[in-house]
Symmetry: D2
Subunit: 374 residues, 4 copies
């Protein structure tokens, strides 16, 4: 008999519904030790709540997240709300004795992130933060190669997330374009956890960082016929230094809302003198491996469905975002159940805090025009 | 209140379970007129039947497909069994008064396909045949461009499906490598419906065909320490002629189990003097559009999740095989409910028969070393 | 003291001037046994003859090719004239006791090619036919890999040449678009030698061929305000069968003037069960190698200037068309001097005849809609 | 009657011989106002001097560059010697009243560059510095697009030069790996002029720069069985800020000897909110253009031989390094003759000084870990 992990969702928007979809086909995971059940949903919009009525396991639909937290049926809470609400709700989740899968950036700023992390530690609850793309087969292969010891001397690391839709100046403003909801860190808050997850897990902790931050569009349609101010950073580049075996190695982290033509391009590259690897969601089935032999070779592997947690889908097929979202939840559930077995896990609270330390250093670097020690 | 379409599956293997996965998250389809429920499963293996016990809506698990067909709970039967069983089981489904989503090739040969088609016509049941890839966003765009009237004079069409895993000579034999189960048409039976679906729907009916068929590996491990004969075609190329507006236009159809490096590469290309388009699952997010302006341009579009039937997944994200499988089922259910609304539908029985006519002509062409009128 | 090869050119158009350019920097070839001197040029246009006055070694400029052939200063004649003039002029060159670098297609049709070949044999002169692209570093690598014995069982061969400029219907007619000058074989005459050179040299002699030939634009501006008929084939695809070690292997040869977006794309690919290679002038620095290991890999090599005959240009740099044109001439001169040393040589008269046999079979195949034995 | 530009070369190595090759086929330039003649060569090695004996126009071969400078036959001197010799020899060239095409980096450091620039100004001679790649057709198109006013708001600029051959630790040391010959700026001296030429010409003058510099291999075989120290920077990244129309725009300049797999990859990219362009010598025939329409498009153009100074080579063909080297010299000669006519010209002394200011700021930035005002 499998364990059951009963989930409540606070915030039934895009990712809340994606979670419902993942849970509904949870049985596709092969020989997985945990069953998942979506039991409760909180949102402020009736239409969103209504949507969840389609799911038979949902017993509680509420506009009051306290009601959800009070429910003894809920083991784990997934919170997907604007950044300025992270701290208060995450702390309430922990205070209610629930486990938590938090959305990034895990607090609106560094101070918030630290308070959440400390509360998590004190509470003893199992807390992780979301980041989906490392669970794609190509990303897993980059991680394996990075850990293989076959890179020679490390030369350079890139971890980037590029979006293009903000290039359209007629795209209306939303809360992610406003500091009061999104935080001073702007685009780093949205996209930053995606780019730091793998580097931090692999031990690539920046010693210092120099930031280039850009604001390009300062106002957008407000959806009511007028315009609203956009005061967040659109693009951020963090030029980091790693200290590795006595060498200083550059690591570039890019988070962009204004990347021409890039629909949803998350990519990671690690380069060494003897080997390397590169993976991008722009070509989701393609892994590039560098090998220095007598000739230098970039090797193209046509990937299939080799997800970290096997499913019933055939190994030759194409994984998509819903699949890596499911894999992320599988990693959460497996680790919570003590069954991660060395696989790559979700972002820890400590890693989330370190990401905020990096972004805070980035803000300071931008102000001082100097590299800032992290 | 939505209609419910209650499905029974005969053959609980790879695609049977993929169907269960699709039905379980059917609610991700936005404003879709039909609900789907998996109610019955037939398979000969206990372990497969057991797997389906996880799905609460399944009321009947049986090793006798007649029992499934006798169930009044079943509206539609999805049959995924070896080719030599298609005719008898498909006819039984129709005789039982059920609708059918048949797996390709819709009968082991042309004669079988015609009998199934005729029975479908006589029965009045709603019958379609599976083919998933046209429901990917990139394929939909190629279809739109082909229909746009902006191609100028049609120059050439390619529709191909390439697999690589048979390049490994240590891969054990299976029924698809043996004529008695797979049919004389060999690889055309496995992969052919995938390559003809779009061309036939767009009215690109070959006037004649010249075939190049290859057998490369004639035996494989039998999985019991010995070897078993493989007597099917591994690779097939059909060089077709279309008669379009007084011109003869080449159309090349390729079906390959031995395509170096191609994990699951389904691709389609249409070229005209003024415009064209190309899409391949090797780069699932990439659409290529040709435009002849003062300069000739191949335009790369970074696709998102623009599936024909919208789902809750965000428009920037990557669709995968499970998503296009779900979309194919949505097309089946929508068309059955009279709600296809001009969208691309599943393969019709007539199209399936035409595919067999083409493959039979291909076999004859290979024997006679001449083009054969289709 | 190096041998000198004194060259006369009949036809001072595009390739005649390219030859003058190559000879002028002939000294860039390292340790090359032969010097080359351009001594005589024949053309009917004064402006072209005038152009050659810039070259100090040219002693004879004439409108009468007989005058050039009568010159004792000329050892080798390079003839670049329309196809209908090939036979008469090539035979005169041989009758004059000169060696010959002929332009393709080496006679307007098969009969002409055979008469030229026979005259070449009888004369004992050193005769070759032009084909530049095999002398690019990437093409050389494909040849090496094809000969390496590491392909496993041969699966398929492609050799193609694609042009796009004829897609513009406002491009004026020229002699290559008219049968009386270009020959019945049309585009096969222009582009065919480029695609057969490597296959024939590697022993890939088609046993039979099935042709798909296309005429798309049947008239074009005549440059005088009216229109002129175009009666040649625009695109040709030859689907060949090779008999290799008891297997039938498809080889596709494509010659296209109507290939969307392809400025000058000459490409060759050889695929086997264990290895393969691909090279295209669309990405002139890129070699693709296939290796079947535990995984199947397509390996990208970033090429440099590794021409078969080394020059003073650094090995990391990009070769261009003028460089491979020079290399072709180096191959001609080296082979003529007995110094080819196993390197790839220019097209022989026998190969040129075999190319015409193939094109003639293609024409017959198109008429009969059947494969024709070559 | 054309002007003649009589050239003397000091340093007959790789680039000296490439120049001889370019001059020998100078007549391929169509309707070009200047003839070029190589009249004198100075080198310390007999074998190199001997090589130039093949060129009939060379009248003077000497080991003493003063003898060459004293020759009244020489109008222009091309100097290709190690960096520590730049200043003294360049100043002697100017003192001798000759025009100069200098090799980069135009002096071993900023002070030297300024003294050379000042001497050039005082002397009134025509002085330029070499940089070949902007003269490739793809680079010209990027320049045109950057100047078109169709970029919208400028987002980001990249200009990079990547080499891979130093990844081989068995590659012997040479003078470019040693500060005393190559300068403190290391790889910036070798490769930096290539990456700044276009940006500086387009007015993209960095306001400040933050540098990441790397030393990876600190010793190499000395070619005599032992090892020699390598004390130069292997890789340099300059993260610049431009101030453009009130916005700060990041510009990244990369100069790398340790770039995995990159044989000779010079690339440039300019991105704006409405348009952009990218060109790389890794795919020398490919231009990428970004256009934001209703959809965002990256457009692939298959380039031909559209060099800024037309030659006799057909417009569809592939240019190579010898061709862009010839084009650079054509730009030098045309500008010297007052016939540049708005085309892109060679690096000016002021631009060379500005490149050194940038590299010096980069060194300081690396020391101080802060952005440095340029």
């Amino acid at each position: 008999m499998k364990d059951v992990m009963r989930v409540g969702i606070i915030g039934g928007g895009l990712m809340g519904r994606e979670a419902a979809s993942a849970f509904a086909r949870w049985f596709v995971l092969e020989r997985f030790p945990v069953r998942v059940e979506l039991v409760a949903v909180c949102d402020l919009q009736d239409t969103l709540l209504d949507w969840f009525r389609q799911i038979p396991t949902v017993r509680l639909l509420t506009k009051d997240h306290r009601e959800l937290l009070a429910s003894p049926d809920v083991d784990v809470v997934y919170v997907a709300v604007p950044h300025h609400l992270h701290e208060s709700i995450y702390l309430e989740v922990l205070a209610a004795g629930k486990d938590l899968l938090a959305e990034k950036p895990f607090g609106i700023d560094l101070a918030a992130a630290r308070r959440i992390r400390d509360a998590a530690t004190t509470s003893g609850r199992f807390v992780r933060c979301s980041s989906e793309f490392p669970f794609l087969p190509g990303a897993q292969r980059v991680i394996d190669i990075a850990r293989s010891g076959k890179l020679g001397r490390l030369l350079e690391i890139h971890s980037c997330f590029w979006h293009a839709s903000d290039l359209d100046p007629s795209k209306p403003v939303n809360w992610k374009r406003q500091v009061k909801f999104c935080g001073e860190i702007g685009v780093m808050g949205d996209l930053g956890m995606h780019v730091v997850h793998i580097p931090l897990r692999l031990g690539w902790n920046p010693a210092r960082v120099y930031a280039q931050l850009q604001k390009v569009y300062t106002e957008r349609p407000d959806g009511k016929g007028g315009f609203a101010a956009c005061d967040t950073w659109d693009n951020a580049q963090l030029h980091c230094d790693l200290e590795v075996s006595g060498s200083t190695v550059p690591m570039r982290l890019e988070m962009k809302r204004l990347a021409p033509g890039a629909t949803n391009t998350w990519w990671v590259e690690v380069l060494g003198t003897e080997g390397g690897a590169r993976y991008s969601t722009a070509e989701p089935k393609t892994l590039w491996i560098f090998e220095r032999q007598k000739e230098q070779r970039w090797i193209r592997i046509d990937l299939g469905f080799q997800t970290p947690f096997p499913t019933i889908t055939g190994g030759i097929f194409e994984p998509g975002f819903p699949d890596c979202f499911l894999q992320m939840w599988a990693a959460y559930a497996a680790e919570r159940a003590g069954a991660l077995d060395g696989r790559f896990g979700c972002v820890t609270p400590d890693e989330a805090v370190r990401s905020h330390e990096l972004f805070a250093a980035g803000l300071e670097s931008h102000r001082t025009r100097a590299a800032v020690t992290v």
